[in-house]
């Protein structure tokens, strides 16, 4: 493990720990509005200042981190499982099954995902609590985000299908589903793991994109996406560098995930 990889793990550990300790670090909470102190600069009571509704920015960053870091891996897990199910089986079965599954995957890949998410979000019931809205957002990301991973897994499973040990198992009369579960799936694990780690930063950024459009996590819950919306007024940001903190944190976390991913790649190899 290189120094950079160790550093990445350490950074992620610190960020996760800080977000878990949010109630201690920022006891004011993320929703409390202090309407007499809107958009204020960092001070002793508000270390990162307040937002345009007088809410403590540090608390919002920490709670937003908690949400993004908790739910992005959950969405990544869901999408990886779907990809394993669809791509893995299609690759293992081959023939028409593989062609049909990959045609569906190509169809999903060709759809503009952002508009798909917006349309899916618009069809959902309106009267849901902010917590449900955040779960739904990441659930949608997970459900719609399996396609790229499915192609990789299909190719991997297809290459395993022709391998000697699989042929031997089939020649021994082992039923196909058992061959898949006992012989193919364990060999797909490194690819699955890599796809899982790749998906996490992708989903973090996807939620951020949705948040910037105002379509992600509902008020008053914070997320990195909704926090990044503050940067829209670029004219003033130069004078208020503390507003860059969510962006810097996002860059650091996504970069750390890339280093962790490279480590996972090494392990898989």
């Amino acid at each position: 493990m290189s120094v950079w990889q160790k550093l990445a793990y350490a950074v992620l550990a610190v960020v996760v720990a800080a977000s878990i300790a949010a109630p201690l670090v920022a006891p004011r909470g993320y929703a409390k509005q202090d309407r007499e102190q809107i958009d204020s600069a960092p001070s002793r009571t508000h270390w990162l200042g307040t937002d345009d509704l007088g809410r403590d920015r540090l608390a919002r960053v920490l709670y937003g981190t908690r949400i993004s870091l908790l739910l992005a891996p959950a969405a990544a897990l869901l999408s990886t499982l779907l990809a394993a199910l669809i791509g893995g089986f299609a690759g293992y079965l081959g023939g028409a099954w593989s062609r049909i599954a990959m045609a569906i995957t190509d169809l999903f890949l060709s759809l503009p995902w952002l508009f798909l998410l917006i349309a899916a979000r618009a069809m959902l019931p309106l009267n849901v609590s902010p917590l449900i809205s955040v779960l739904v957002t990441f659930l949608l990301l997970g459900i719609l985000g399996w396609t790229a991973a499915a192609r990789v897994l299909c190719a991997s499973a297809a290459s395993l299908r022709g391998s000697d040990f699989v042929r031997q198992a089939r020649a021994a009369g082992i039923p196909p589903y058992r061959v898949f579960c006992m012989q193919v799936a364990p060999n797909l694990n490194p690819v699955l793991l890599a796809q899982f780690w790749i998906s996490i930063p992708v989903f973090i950024l996807s939620e951020a994109n949705l948040g910037i459009l105002g379509l992600g996590v509902a008020e008053p819950l914070p997320s990195w996406g909704s926090l990044l919306k503050e940067l829209e007024g670029l004219v003033s940001v130069g004078a208020e560098p503390w507003k860059f903190v969510p962006l810097i944190l996002l860059v650091i976390v996504v970069t750390s995930f890339q280093f962790v991913l490279s480590r996972q790649g090494e392990l898989a190899a």
């Binding site: 509704l53 309106l126 004219v235």
Partner: protein
Amino acid sequence: MKNLNTSLKSIRSAVALLALCLAGWQHARAQGELRFCLRTEPKTFDPLKVDDDASATIRYLTGGVLVRVNRQTQQLEPELALSWKVSKDGKQISFRLRSGVVFSDGTPFSAEDVAYTMQKLMDPALHSPTGDAFRSGTGNVETRVVSPTQITITFPAQVAGLDRLFDQVAILSEHSPKKEMAVLGPFVMAEYKAGASVLLKRNPNYWKTDAQGHRLPYLESIRLDIQPNRDVEMLRFKRGELDLINTLDSEFFDKLAATSPQWVHDAGPSLDSEQIWFNQVAKSPIPSFKKTWFRSQVFRNAISGAINRDDLTRVVYHSHAQPAIGPFSPANKFWFNASLQPQPYSPESALKALQPEGFHLENGTLKDKDGNEVVFSIATNAGNKARERMAALIQDDLQKIGVHVNVVTLDFPSLIERMTQTFDYEAILLGLTNVDLDPDGEMNVWLSSAENHQWNPQQKTPETPWEAQIDQLMRAQASASDARRRKEAFDRVQEIVVEQKPFIFLINKNALSAVSPAVHGAAPVILWPQTFWNAEWLSK
């Protein structure tokens, strides 16, 4: 005597020099180019088909009209018509026109051009939005040219506020080979680069002159850059590449005011309002107990009283807005009902008012008489920061009376679909952009049968007594020709709306604009077009 002659010569020389200077100054004034942005591509250059802001801007700057609403005084003033008279039954209007006026290409202007314009405007095949305002009954519009300077126009039914509607009618030439490109306004269309800019040049034949007899406009040209991005518009203005911004957000206004306070103008409350309404549509797919809440005047009034409008104006609009009182802003000098009072913010009174209806607090949550928690969603369009912030403040305000609000931001088409097609929403926060001073412009909102009667549109018959009363009053004001009687009827409409609160009016935004000090003669007002309403008098 010699001294006197010398003095006279000196005076003559001085006067001649002054005249030369003045002529030079006038020439210099006519050299200026005013630059500002259109936020969208103009959809049409045909003044009769105008239906968007960009096209309306070009029509305003190039079109000659018979009468014009003075944007400062809000009074109707003569333009191409020297005088006019509306018949008692409100069906007929007679104009006496200026003589000696010519179109930009030199074609003489006469009553025949007015008749030609009206016939084209009222042609059903044209689908003119401007013409729709004149349509009050079935039948044809008749024009009678009495003389080259006199014309009478008769409509099949009474048209309320008839004379003011002519503010939007740019007169076309019947005989000019250039048709709608021959104009009577201060500027003429010179160049159009799709997606980039529109260049308007001074109309050399414009009829208006200043007190010294100099032909207007002072400006040589106006360049309109098509720029939808407001950040870019702001940066270009700060760099001096633009001379004015017609409407500014409060955030941009404050940023600009911090560095250049003399460039920004807050003209006070505008006609625009922001409001919330609850879904009262009987067939809407929401639970019946919620329909009962939303149809209760007490519930709507309590919710309204629990919203801190002062905070909305201060926090969201940085005090560049006023708490709204009713359907018309106090900015509408004639039609606003001055007897209406703003609703005081009082969560305690709101809770007290809800108690007789069976609402009660239980562990900090408001419940109705059947024990249902009072929870509803407020939907608004994604991307509108001010509305998103208002919704978050309202969410926090209503929490104080135990009401849980879920704020939902949707893309605009989805919101409109829910609002007008599926009625699958509980409450919506949106704004009303009002460009018409006359309540007739809002018939499509207040009549219960109207499509834009948002809380419960297209009713076959009014579902509540107060909506029936509003219908009757709106029709009465529309059919009365006496301004005083119309005002009385509409005052009552405003009272009913404030009592019943089908719309919970939140704020009236101030008219904020920015004008470069290089522009002389600018006097921003609250009515559109705020900064260039007197374009012919502006100079650089």
